[in-house]
């Protein structure tokens, strides 16, 4: 089972992000469960959502306490929420930022951060460029597909097209594709 925790703020599409992940996995014939943290969601308030993906039906109903991947949609949450709580070794961390881990000062937040694979993705910039709104969720999912391979890009794009109406879907598809390409290049650079 692969477990993902998404952190963000109300209005950034955290819950939709988890939903899109689960639909992408479903399209690939896998079992998936997505659910929000059930807070009193308000614009700007810290929000969490979770997604589990597995090859068999998922019975577990606890929040994702030990994520294999963490998607952080808003870097300012570092000061407010215990984001790295329960993170599994070698977990993949995607953070919406234009700076790297050192510049973000992440070492102060996560002990042993070097044992994680941390990737900064300029998701808000990509969203503004392609979608025209500050919704970093879809670009982060594109990067997630590239960096983890847990879901494929084609199924993510199909999930986006199923969720959003025509033109909005295509703008989000472009944002996901751009983030996927960016993250793929970054990954190749690391691997090389």
């Amino acid at each position: 089972m692969f477990q993902i925790r998404i952190h963000g703020r109300g209005g950034q599409g955290v819950v939709s992000g988890a939903e899109l992940l689960s639909v992408s996995a479903f399209i690939e014939g896998r079992h998936a469960q997505a659910f929000p943290s059930f807070g009193s969601e308000r614009m700007g308030a810290p929000v969490m959502a979770f997604c589990r993906i597995d090859d068999k039906p998922i019975r577990l109903r606890e929040p994702v306490l030990e994520p294999d991947a963490l998607i952080i949609q808003d870097a300012t949450l570092l000061h407010q929420v215990d984001l790295f709580n329960g993170l599994r070794p070698r977990a993949c961390i995607l953070i919406n930022a234009t700076k790297g881990a050192d510049e973000l000062g992440l070492a102060g937040f996560a002990r042993g951060i070097q044992q994680y694979r941390l990737h900064a993705i300029p998701a808000t910039d990509l969203a503004l460029e392609h979608v025209g709104r500050k919704v970093p969720n879809v670009p982060l999912l594109g990067a997630f597909a590239a960096l983890t391979g847990v879901i494929g890009l084609p199924s993510l794009l199909q999930a986006i097209r199923e969720k959003f109406p025509g033109p909005v879907a295509e703008r989000n598809v472009a944002a996901a594709q751009a983030a996927f390409d960016l993250a793929s290049r970054a990954r190749e650079a690391v691997d090389a």
Binding site: A18, S22, A34, F38, P46, M48, I58, P63, L65, Q80
Partner: protein, 417 residues
Amino acid sequence: MLKQIEGSRAVAEAVALCRPQVICAYPITPQTHIVEGLGEMVKTGDLAGCEFINVESEFAALSVAIGASAAGVRSYTATSSQGLLFMAEAVYNAAGLGLPIVMTIGNRAIGAPINIWNDHSDSMSMRDAGWIQLYADDNQEALDLHIQAFRLAEELSCPVMVCMDGFILTHAYDRVDVPTQAEVDAYLPPYLPRQILDPREPVSIGAMVGPEAFTEVRYLSHHRQLRALGLIPQLAAEFATAFGRPSGGLIRPYRTEGAETIVVALGSVNGTIQEVVDEMRAEGTAIGSVSILSFRPFPLAVLREALRHAKRVVVLEKCLAVGLGGIVSDGVRKSLSGVVLHGYTVIAGLGGRAITRASLRKLFEDAGRDELQQVTFLDLDADLVSFELERESRVRRSGPTAEALLRRLGTVASRIG
């Protein structure tokens, strides 16, 4: 057809496939998405032959459903928490009149303090109102139970509540198999009411009944529910044949063969319990679990059969009978009359507190050593409780309890579990 959809959407689609003719509802979290979905389907015409009636309160919602049902049409509503309490008088009336309304409860705590999250306090408060109460383990079951519920309600002329955990199920995206209209039509025939308000053949429904027959009216309600003990497994079996998957029934035993410890619970927590049972079974611990799917009628006989060979029974409840302990435990103990074993009540998941594998694991290990109190509050913050008790003993005008606890805790936004 397999779909990856929200639990509320799955239920809305199931209800629509049952061809309701009147739906009336008033929004309340976490049930709202269900009736929003149905409202949309009525508006677009996807759900034909149905009138969606917006009302000004939950009391009106169920009252309109009562009127519609008495006029001979298939009626549906849904609510949660305080909404169910506001309906209370009509809840009793629907059952007393024997009207086969189906109502979804998106289970949520009851205030004060105000809390929108999941537990079973709402539906449990209406457990003796005369409705049949079914509890879903997961979203597929929530979907399936609605189809069975209309059939059950109409065969018995008795209203049915389908209870599903608020947020945990209503807001979770899961894979569900949504049947076709033809499949549902073959299982659920058109509604043939036993009683109907018809100007051509006028009758009264809801007459005053004195001591001469009130007991008999009540006895017949009880009798109907006892009949349901036979009908519920029968309808579940027919459902399994027609739809190709098991769903519903009275109880669901899980790995109870040879189990020394058996955990009993209602609703979605059974999934997490089964995970822990598998973990502990793999290590050689003789543990199993039983999910109660029908809480009213209460399945005394089958439960007794499932539990009587155990050494101990742990009843995990998402509801508290203040001053007593458990509610489900009472029924479980009644089912075990004369059987000697240890019985433990565990209050868990109140107001949305997460019930984790780790906590359950420790709980079941303690139970296995018979080191549990008769009533245990899972993951109770004992320090917080002591702090408040001490504070209240010091200060006469100690002020409101809930606010004092929150001040002591400070910000909770940083918590994960």
